[in-house]
């Protein structure tokens, strides 16, 4: 059985797909391909990646708290940095020389791409795990989301000025994405029953989308397996047609919304063959889907080219991505990263751990 790709990102003709500690990149117009190995020695898993705007550099953060910058054309590692904590999200500045990272301890740092030894700069921090980070196109605002329902809008580069807080989520936030062709709206989702469309400059809610209802309807209509909770896995956008696609953990469904008349309206609901691990729009408006791999899975990646009726694209483009590594079995739970952000799940895990420790200490006492 093949190891699945757990991440996929697109920027300026380049698509990058990640499995374990490796990355495969293909330039869709030149057809050039390259494979990167983030950690040859310990094979630690990759946690987050980001391209710069022209897709000449890829920043990659792995579970060993290593941050590497890769030259996408040559496959050369440009520099390696050590981050204090695991990195959950990365964003490049427009000029591509600097990145901002959001970490599991709640802090945001900036790193420059080249100069190997240059110190990181601390920009801001929440007292809560950070899940995502965005930088507005005009680079006036940096937006961070956390495990405690908060989205914070901070001035950039004067990050000592907090602009506002977008408050409304009742659960953790996992993803945020700017609305295409618009300078002040973003969509956020997480463990909530709703997606929120924010005017982030004024911290006002423009629209809420009841995904609980949407998902339940879709499950009933298509006879899908019921799930316990809804956890937004990814939000990706296609600017030419003002489309916004959203997918969830443990659900073979993609909702595609159109941004029209200052509102998002559901345009397509796509039922996929496999459980989805990640999605990314390319510049032809196709959605690249990385599939969870089990006995029934045929492809590690599928390209959705038409949404109604659904059409999948040529296998030819996918040959490069066909093989990953072989393994005996894939554990779906290993790939479910966002549902663990739920407080009750984490608390339950903590309680279990404490119980285990209690038992161990008691045993030791008896001995």
């Amino acid at each position: 059985m093949k190891v699945p790709y757990h991440l996929i990102r697109y920027s300026n003709d380049c698509i990058a797909a990640v499995y374990n500690n490796k990355i495969k990149i293909k330039n869709l117009s030149t057809k050039e391909t390259i494979e990167l190995n983030q950690d040859e020695t310990n094979k630690t898993s990759i946690r987050s990646i980001a391209f710069n705007n022209d897709a000449s550099i890829l920043a990659v953060a792995s579970d060993d708290k290593k941050l590497k910058f890769w030259d996408v054309k040559t496959g050369k590692c440009l520099s390696i940095k050590n981050t204090p904590k695991k990195v959950n999200s990365i964003v490049f500045e427009n000029h591509g020389k600097k990145i901002l990272i959001a970490d599991g301890f709640g802090d945001v740092y900036s790193y420059s791409v080249d100069e190997e030894d240059e110190e990181k700069e601390s920009l801001l921090g929440h007292v809560s795990m950070l899940t995502d980070i965005l930088l507005s196109k005009d680079e006036k605002y940096v937006i961070t989301s956390d495990r405690d329902e908060k989205i914070r809008v901070t001035r950039y580069p004067k990050t000592y000025i907090i602009h506002n807080f977008c408050l409304g989520h009742k659960e953790y936030i996992s993803k945020m994405q700017f609305i295409p062709n618009n300078n002040n709206l973003l969509l956020s989702g997480g463990g909530d029953d709703y997606l929120f469309l924010w005017d982030y400059i004024n911290a006002t809610i423009v629209q809420t989308i009841n995904i609980k209802e949407l998902i339940n309807e879709t499950i009933t209509k298509n006879n899908l397996t019921l799930i316990d909770s809804y956890n937004v896995k990814e939000i990706t956008t296609y600017s030419k047609e003002n489309l916004v696609a959203v997918c969830f953990e443990r659900l073979p469904v993609i909702f595609i919304f159109e941004f029209i008349e200052n509102k998002l309206s559901l345009k397509y609901t796509v039922i996929t063959e496999n459980l989805i691990l990640d999605i990314a729009f390319d510049n032809q408006g196709r959605i690249w889907i990385t599939n969870f791999v089990d006995e029934n899975t045929k492809e590690t990646i599928t390209i959705l080219s038409k949404f109604s009726p659904v059409e999948y694209d040529t296998k030819e483009e996918l040959i490069f991505f066909k093989n990953t590594e072989e393994c005996e079995k894939n554990d779906i739970n290993k790939y479910m990263t966002v549902e663990n952000l739920r407080k009750e799940v984490l608390d339950a895990k903590k309680a279990q751990q404490e119980l285990q420790e209690d038992i161990i200490t008691k045993k030791q006492k008896i001995e």
């Binding site: 921090g125 007292v127 990050t159 000592y160 000025i161 907090i162 807080f165 408050l167």
Partner: protein, 252 residues
């Protein structure tokens, strides 16, 4: 029936005794999943806290909290400030529930003992102030914030738990009015220097020279009326304080 009401009343009138409310000295500000907080400031119902000034579900509640005492401990500062600022609403925030219980009973007793509106302007809440202040207060709402004798968290690794830090100062600056004041006090020299350094380095705060604070009645309260301040005096320790003004950035 009458009987129990009677004892109840007497209970309220009696000031609580601190020794029944002792708790572990340090609280972990990162585990707090049982706290109750509003989604956003507009949704907060303040009527249980300040029944004289807020009515339930009423849109015409115009009062807003003016001062907060972060990590208020046993509430000495609140009690001292109440008569000095009768038209300001003052809230103490305390993470340890037994300590918060004590302060609540103390305020209830003081309110019951004083028939006029004295002590109606102070209240206490169990809360983790490091995490949830933006849920309670709006941008530029507060005019004073007190951080008195905070837990020192000596170990380097625990510095992130300190209640004054560069990251949290950005949040305090967001909540304070331009011209609003931030007070710190401690008996730990190293912590004092740390807090001064962090505040000095924050572009939105400016230190007020100690000589200019002679007329500020809060200074006497923070040094002599807080439980920690009294304890330090009994032990003949040093007391350090610093006051900062929230200033405006040209880009704000």
């Amino acid at each position: 029936m009458e009987d129990s009401e009677q004892t109840n009343k007497e209970d309220i009138l009696k000031l609580p005794r601190k020794r029944f409310f002792r708790q572990r000295a340090h609280a972990n500000p990162f585990s707090d999943h049982d706290l109750i907080y509003p989604l956003k400031p507009e949704e907060m119902d303040w009527s249980p806290f300040y029944p004289k000034y807020f009515s339930k579900n009423s849109k015409d509640n115009t009062k807003k909290i003016d001062f907060i005492d972060v990590g208020c401990g046993y509430g000495g500062l609140l009690v001292a400030l109440a008569p000095l600022f009768p038209d300001k609403l003052i809230l103490g925030m305390e993470i340890r529930s037994k300590v918060e219980d004590y302060v609540k009973q103390r305020i209830d007793a003081l309110r019951a003992q004083n028939k006029d509106d004295l002590y109606q302007n102070i209240s206490v809440m169990r809360m983790n102030a490091m995490k949830f202040l933006p849920n309670f207060f709006e941008h530029g709402q507060l005019s004073k914030m007190f951080f008195l004798f905070p837990d020192p968290h000596f170990k380097r690794k625990k510095h992130k738990n300190r209640i004054i830090s560069p990251n949290l100062l950005a949040e305090y600056a967001y909540l304070l009015k331009i011209g609003g004041l931030l007070y710190t006090a401690t008996d730990v020299r190293e912590l004092h220097e740390w807090m001064v350094e962090k505040c000095d380095n924050h572009p939105l705060f400016e230190r007020i020279p100690d000589e200019e604070l002679n007329d500020d009645p809060c200074i006497r309260c923070i040094l002599h009326e807080t439980e920690e301040g009294k304890k330090v005096a009994r032990n003949k320790g040093d007391k350090h304080f610093a006051v900062y003004r929230r200033i405006q950035d040209p880009d704000e």
